[in-house]
């Protein structure tokens, strides 16, 4: 059954652009200041906002900032089409419409007491970053924490400086791999599934969070299953086109589920049968 939407869920609030920062050749991070001053609506890691560029259109983008830093709303965006390109061109002080936060979140609380395996492909690292911040803020409550990140080339590595800081920590194990590289690259080469066997975690007591293209997520699930992680402990973040983001329009439907409100984060065993449906 579709729940009634909150009356204000369709009305954007106006946020000012504080800055945009180019992360890689096609990806940028945009920092927004909410209208009510230095207090952002609380969001849970994995949730998304509908960002509206005036006169161009509205798109769903996950929050990529730190849930505890409440004065700036941060999103990391890959330029693919009209709206994301227009967003990239916004200057400091210009205004963007924001609706949200919407959707389900990464199970950071269920993961307490467990080993955590975070697997990101490409831009998929952005929606996972708030979960990483939350886990690191309560690091002692978790077992081993492993971040596996795969991207196209060394130039496409997102949040490079932050990854280096994380890699230097003794309580977080970070593995980065690229699809292709020249011989000068000293790191791993191969899709992200190839580095899963190298990761140290207790598969009987692990929770996995995966975000990336669907093909990457399917193969990652297979590999984790192979390592003995139960499907009910594997969470994936799904993407479909969105219009309303509140379960009204049906644009984002995946079988009986609405990605906008039942997702985007699902335990894999609950959406398994719909996962491989090519387009809806």
């Amino acid at each position: 059954m579709i729940e009634a939407a909150k009356p204000d869920a369709m009305t954007p609030v106006f946020c000012r652009v504080l800055k945009t920062h180019q992360e890689t050749r096609d990806t940028f991070t945009i920092d927004l200041e909410p209208p009510s001053g230095p207090q952002v609506l609380p969001f849970a890691p994995g949730q998304f906002n509908m960002l509206y560029v005036f006169g161009v259109g509205e798109v769903p983008i996950s929050v990529s900032g730190d849930p505890r830093r409440t004065h700036t709303l941060v999103h990391t965006v890959r330029e693919v089409g009209a709206v994301t390109q227009a967003m990239r061109r916004l200057k400091r002080g210009e205004v963007l419409g924001v609706r949200g936060p919407f959707g389900s979140s990464w199970p950071v609380e269920q993961a307490v007491g467990k080993d955590v395996v975070i697997v990101a492909g490409g831009i998929g690292l952005a929606p996972l970053r708030p979960a990483i911040y939350s886990i690191l803020a309560h690091r002692q409550e978790y077992g081993r924490v492993v971040l596996l990140y795969g991207t196209r080339t060394p130039e496409d590595i997102l949040f490079r400086k932050e990854l280096e800081r994380w890699r230097a920590r003794l309580d977080l194990s970070v593995h980065v791999t690229v699809d292709r590289a020249l011989a000068s690259w000293r790191g791993s080469v191969g899709v992200v599934t190839t580095i899963i066997p190298r990761a140290h975690f207790d598969s009987n007591n692990a929770l996995a969070m995966i975000c990336g293209p669907e093909a990457m997520m399917s193969f990652t699930v297979l590999e984790l299953e192979n390592r003995g992680v139960g499907l009910e402990h594997i969470y994936v973040s799904t993407e479909r086109n969105m219009k309303c983001a509140i379960g009204f329009c049906g644009h984002c439907q995946l079988g009986p589920k609405f990605i906008c409100k039942d997702g985007p984060v699902f335990p894999y065993d609950r959406i398994r049968q719909f996962f491989e449906i090519r387009e809806i």
């Binding site: 991207t151 196209r152 590289a181 020249l182 191969g190 580095i195 066997p197 190298r198 990336g212 293209p213």
Partner: protein, 153 residues
Amino acid sequence: METLRPILAEHPFFKDLEERHLDLVAGCASNVRFKAGDFIFRHGEEANEFYLIREGLVAIEMFVTGRGAVNVQTIGEGQILGWSWLVPPYRWMFDAHALETTRAIALDGICLRNKSEQDHDLGYQLLKRFATIVQKDLDAARLQILNIYEVHA
């Protein structure tokens, strides 16, 4: 002499291998160590071993005219390097060199091929395990060709 048998027995690759087969495999095993930059094997050479990587990182490289050496895959801790020893004409198709100090167990392919000829059960067990590796390499290569992280405009 210290035997590598207990280490082999714990490796997932040899999971559920019968005791007598583990003994045969351990008889073909030795410890090896490579410094960063060392070549482990080169394209065209005879392929007479494979390696269980215990520590370090190995780059599999291909020489591409005009581009030089291209790193197509890396193999690290817990992974198996090389299956050309199993398939005639037993020649390496790539170069492999250590990116870091790498410790591994080398398994002598000639020794294993001979034992497999005498004991087909052992041969079957090895083939079954290598078939999985070949399949995974193939899947990974397909994903790489697909360029799964690319946005398809």
